[in-house]
Symmetry: D3
Subunit: 144 residues, 6 copies
């Protein structure tokens, strides 16, 4: 690793991310799920305020239609990022230490599915909280 990268990993620890690929490459980061969930919450907020949020060349109905389409897809991205963490990153030794791991992921992925049917930003907030719990455990296991 180059010096620059080493220094970065010391002074900006929370910026070092971990994502997934199927090699596996060992890079994972719950931020991927969180970022998409923040997009969902932002869409729910804009949906509630569609008259102001919409573009000049579209109706409120058009805008809501697009919001629903995009939210649906973002929700599936959240789920995909979470499923990969669950199936690939977490190992039996983690489960031994965090016995509610399966329940957390089951609840979070069900909450992400619920986001498809909800236009309420409070729902997006709940989804973010569920991801936050997983994120907390993830980083504890990385430090361990």
């Amino acid at each position: 690793m180059k010096i620059r990268a080493v220094i970065e990993s010391v002074i900006r620890p929370s910026r070092v991310g971990y994502a997934h690929c199927g090699l596996p490459c060992g890079v994972y980061d719950p931020a991927q799920a969180r970022i998409e969930a923040e997009s969902i919450r932002a869409i729910q907020q804009r949906y509630q305020n569609a008259a102001n949020a919409k573009g000049a060349g579209e109706t409120v109905e058009d805008y809501k239609t697009r919001a629903l389409k995009i939210k649906e897809e973002r929700a599936e991205m959240v789920r995909n990022h979470l499923w990969i963490l669950w199936s690939d990153y977490f190992k039996p030794e983690h489960l031994a230490k965090y016995p509610n791991l399966h329940e957390l992921f089951w609840a979070a992925t069900k909450e992400a599915a619920a986001a498809k049917q909800s236009e309420d930003p409070a729902q997006g907030e709940k989804l973010l909280a569920a991801i936050g719990e997983i994120d907390k455990i993830f980083w504890e296991t990385k430090k361990a």
Copy 2:
């Protein structure tokens, strides 16, 4: 915004991410490109060490083949995240302040393409550095 989220945005500023959707939802974050680029660098490292990194049920050649396939796809993800930032997030007022913006993105997306043809982790390091420059500008504009 709930109190919990407000507090989080204060005490964990670098964790607040910004991603994209085509609504637009206003959520962007260069971390999405960076995470995929870290995956690329990790794949390049493993490729160099394939005999140790490979699974028990595959040959070194098999492993390298899979590494190349996955790296190719990760590189395209990096490019997609960067292109979206360039076309959607950045506005003329940003360009006025950062006149080399186009060049930075052009170079970074060309570096990501180069990652498809390189098995050298130093190349992945260069890609991460290019994304790092964009990341720096991005966060400066968010603070402005």
Copy 3:
């Protein structure tokens, strides 16, 4: 065909299907995961017999390269079908009756990931057996 399936094909003549969509539409079927896993096993068998299985216009190495690429993608399809069943179809009342449900899905999706790294048809057989266990529970819950 098992007796159960034979009877079903008579009294419910092939029209009763169970697949997924995010509405949700209520249609699910573990056959989707199974079919992709059968493809994986077939690819593993052909990989072992590449000299005979390959096309006239490609080398053995070319054929193996393509086999690895396709298997990688099929494995991810298996995982996606399983994840959707786990997160969308199965409910707390099912878990109460089948307490090992989480473990079954965790093991099956990890086995599907292992398929990416294995060229042994016996591995594909194990994956099919894991899906078979889920399939059995699924149909029991549909009858309940």
Copy 4:
């Protein structure tokens, strides 16, 4: 092949599924098209009953919008599964025995396109019938 698999291939021949991959792997099954078409029919039924089928956090209009989006995608999946069967599984000797093969696939893929524009479950029923005809021929050719 393990003994278990050999026995299975004898006593459960119809459980051996046939899906596609581009190797080719020789695994095909019209069930893939049928399952997606059943999803289409279920969506058309729910669309007609949107007020009851919708989630608590969405309006009838929201629900219908999502139903249309998902149906559109399911219809393209049906078409893709059918096209692959037509181009990859079926050979000239099959056409010699079933001279209307091209017409059946042409009609079925056009019916799947029609599903995008129809909210009537009777249309989905017609699509399922068209797939059923292909399924019947497919299994006759497998037995031959």
Copy 5:
């Protein structure tokens, strides 16, 4: 190369296309972006005339919903084709000759994003004009 192809390349030069792949294969053609943009303009025209353009089995609202979904996706395809031209085909020597190259692509990809929010065929016309400018430069560089 067969005689037929040689003759064609002489008498129908504008039919010889250039598309992209990540090898790179050296084949590019702005026609790919243009064709998708023509689809966008056609969708905008049909949206304005939805009562006549819609199918018999769908409402005007249904038709508009589908139009918006498809236009959104076509717009992203336009962007993707343009981004690839910008990052992969164009080189520093082209930029030296066409100093407004970055601006042209920035404007065109922003116009394609605007297509998501506009139901006005005049907007699609503007997008096609922006692509036309790029197309003109592209073919000049191919001749050079």
Copy 6:
């Protein structure tokens, strides 16, 4: 339509393209299939000349692996473009005039599948010729 577009459609008839979307939007163009097929032929040519075509940071084997992956995907794109033309653009009245229409598409999509297994540019040439026959009929029907 603006004057500029009208003039263009007169002086550059072969540049006016027709692509597909599922609305339908009425825009189709066999050029989409042709461009991808030209990419396939270019990949086959480069495969034969891999030592010269490869990047500095990759081995000949790496380059061939990437070529095979990309060709596989381009072949599926060709097929998809052709299938859409066959199922969506062509109508019974076209078939009445061109009775070999089904056979032409069947052969062309099978030739595209063959491209996955062939590294010979002459095979890509055959695929282009098959697409050329369809292209000829397509434009005759557009003029009729």
